[in-house]
Symmetry: C2
Subunit: 239 residues, 2 copies
């Protein structure tokens, strides 16, 4: 009855993949395991694992170039781009503009069959464009994200640097497996990680102690500048 996770439980916990936010949208309620005493919601690990599997099975069914991945924030852009490269998917960085999937006269027009969204709050326009043509939408969703228009939710900390690296690493590995790729997966999680630049990471040394814990100790400052905008004081730490 017990079953292997896709990776060691500690890998999940150290990446803070399950550490969500203090807000909860109605559609995300069912993925929440508990509320930590400081008010942060924690996602259920087994469900995260199951959903990464489900998404990989779904995405793995499509031809590589039928899949498009979007990412707008730096911590998502790096892993999402690496992911797209490995599975042969199209990649859209930053804003999706109206018509990209519907106007054949545009230079960047494309006709994917499935879209993977890194952050449904920041990639609203991508969701809107995809839903115009009813394309199935898979999304990495944090507890404060709306699940409207999302077909398959991967509940996950979708703002953490290491969390995003781990999710995209696992998705890429599993999708290649689904496609019958029996070779070794010669990539590491750190290949998927956005590198923290010295200038924006005064406390870089702490990064390596574990993302969740690092966030907590950092108390709202450090290398995670981008994420902080609008979420000042939001803290995440492991159980």
């Amino acid at each position: 009855m017990t079953e292997e996770l896709l990776t060691n439980q500690n890998d999940y916990l150290e990446a803070g993949i399950h550490i969500a936010t203090k807000s909860r949208s109605p559609g995300m309620k069912k993925f929440i395991y508990k509320v930590r005493e400081d008010g942060l919601y924690l996602l259920d690990l087994k469900t995260i694992d199951d959903r990464i599997r489900a998404a990989a099975k779904m995405i793995g069914g499509y031809a590589p170039n039928e899949v498009v991945v979007t990412a707008s924030r730096i911590y998502a852009i790096v892993p999402a781009q690496k992911f797209a490269e490995l599975i042969g998917a199209k990649f859209i960085k930053g804003r999706v503009t109206p018509g990209i999937f519907t106007n054949p006269h545009r230079e960047d027009f494309m006709e994917p069959k499935l879209i993977l969204i890194s952050d449904s709050r920041n990639e609203k326009q991508a969701i809107k464009e995809a839903s115009k043509i009813n394309m199935p939408i898979v999304a990495l969703s944090d507890t404060d994200n709306s699940t409207k228009f999302i077909d398959l939710v991967i509940p996950v900390n979708n703002r953490g640097r290491r969390s995003l690296a781990l999710v995209y690493f696992l998705l890429a590995r599993e999708i290649l497996k689904e496609r019958g790729n029996t070779g070794e997966f010669n990539h590491t999680i750190s290949d998927f990680e956005a590198k923290v630049e010295a200038s924006t990471a005064p406390m870089e040394g702490r990064e390596h102690r574990g993302f969740g814990g690092d966030r907590e100790r950092r108390g709202g400052f450090g290398g995670d500048r981008e994420r902080r905008g609008g979420f000042g004081g939001r803290e995440r730490r492991p159980y």
Copy 2:
């Protein structure tokens, strides 16, 4: 840019696969192509086709016995059972009782990884049980069905005898294809059809003229007795 459908467009139209109801739930709005003058909503054929493909890709990624299919009404039971048999899935006929996926002491306990629902209104309990363990839920959904808890919606006339036969036929065929089954698919749509018994089908002769049109002419009576309960006077016909 134009693309083949999974079956001839006429097959879809004659089975009335796109002919929905006069009600519309918020989640189903986006799948609606237009409202017919008599008030019936029509679903977009291309989207139906895309969604059957998407579901097949997703379901095809799971091992046969990791999938469970539910059906409660006769027009769904026959095709869903045939479908389950062909793809090797588990099948639940009628009511799902609490604990079936969570209580290992039950005789009928099972641990599927994905559930396919024939009718979200009639199989509410199945949805509830599946969502307790956050299992991905794929559902055949008519315009009046709630999409709450459903991960992947296959928008479709989920009460018509021929519509259900066609959907399950296509799903079975595509799933076997996804699994790499290169052999011939030696089954016909009528293998998936619930047979209309003479006693309940005074107007059987009309069945063969096309389901939609038959419904219209029948004006609320005929072999489709089961469906009528609570929907008296609901009529469907092709465009």
